[in-house]
Subunit: 168 residues, 2 copies
Amino acid sequence: MELEQKYLALLQEAWRRQLPDLESLRLCFQALSLASAIDRDCATMLAPHGLSEGRFVLLFLLDAANEGLAPNTLAEKAGVTRATVTGLLDGLERELLIERRADTNDRRALRIRLTHKGKQLTQKVFDQHSRWIAGLFGNFSAPERAQLAALLDKAAANLPSASRGSAK
Amino acid sequence: MELEQKYLALLQEAWRRQLPDLESLRLCFQALSLASAIDRDCATMLAPHGLSEGRFVLLFLLDAANEGLAPNTLAEKAGVTRATVTGLLDGLERELLIERRADTNDRRALRIRLTHKGKQLTQKVFDQHSRWIAGLFGNFSAPERAQLAALLDKAAANLPSASRGSAK
DNA sequence: CATATATAATTAGCCGGTAAATTATATGGC
DNA sequence: GCCATATAATTTACCGGCTAATTATATATG
């Protein structure tokens, strides 16, 4: 598998400086490069529909909640700030995939709902997207999956943000 | 290990829709979440020095080339566009870590050089950063490393951008 | 009731990435 | 020598993150 250009440069520099344990460095960069490649290919799949990953997440969250959701709830479930949600909703609204309605009880609040077009698009894209992702590991045997999960966990345990409360 | 909020939401939605092979989905999200956590912790380490990952990459590329480098060379070695390099250099120049000099032969071109301050900072940060990354996999045995590398490769082989020419 | 505090959403400004357009300069062929 | 084309760097405009500040509305408390 190919490492990203920047990681090749970093490895080369680490070698030049005779740093120890280049193997560990390479392993880390392999994991990071795989993740980047997955993200990149996901973005490539979503782009033709005018979607980014962030927009896509909001869409399926809304599709699951048939009474609509408030922006702050979307932010919480998507794991981004409310300011980011405002921006993503602006894009989705421009594409006529969602609409903002005033909340009847609380005049500060909004209900976000999928339009018909938004529902259709979400239906079409969600399954395709999930199946594609699952396909990446579809040819893994049960022991391989268990091994990989365990090894990833072992690396994660060495991270400061994992060991601590990690807050957010 | 904890999955990112958005992946939890996606898994939940996939379960609600009774999609097959949730195990593969989870495995993928575990890998992506680990990569995000590594990136986040790296950024946290670099931030106190006023560095982002992109800026850091330019610094050590410049440190390795003691005659200075042209912005287009930096872009190529860092794997980003020249426009991005322009922006990163603006930041580094503002922090007095690099300087832009006119190329004596080609009046279109620049030579970018580290300042003394830039050299010092690079020295200090590079080793620390590399050792920290290596530490994430420092407690892996040789067979564990081989296994992990093989499993990551196997997943990468299922990616469109890996199998194809993948362009740039 | 009045006031302080909390919450909802947006706005403004920053960052780092992109693509496309611009400006300046080299270079190669006629 | 001139013109077409390529290359160097920047600028502009966009995106999707973030934080911090603003505006409007609820809510709780003295």
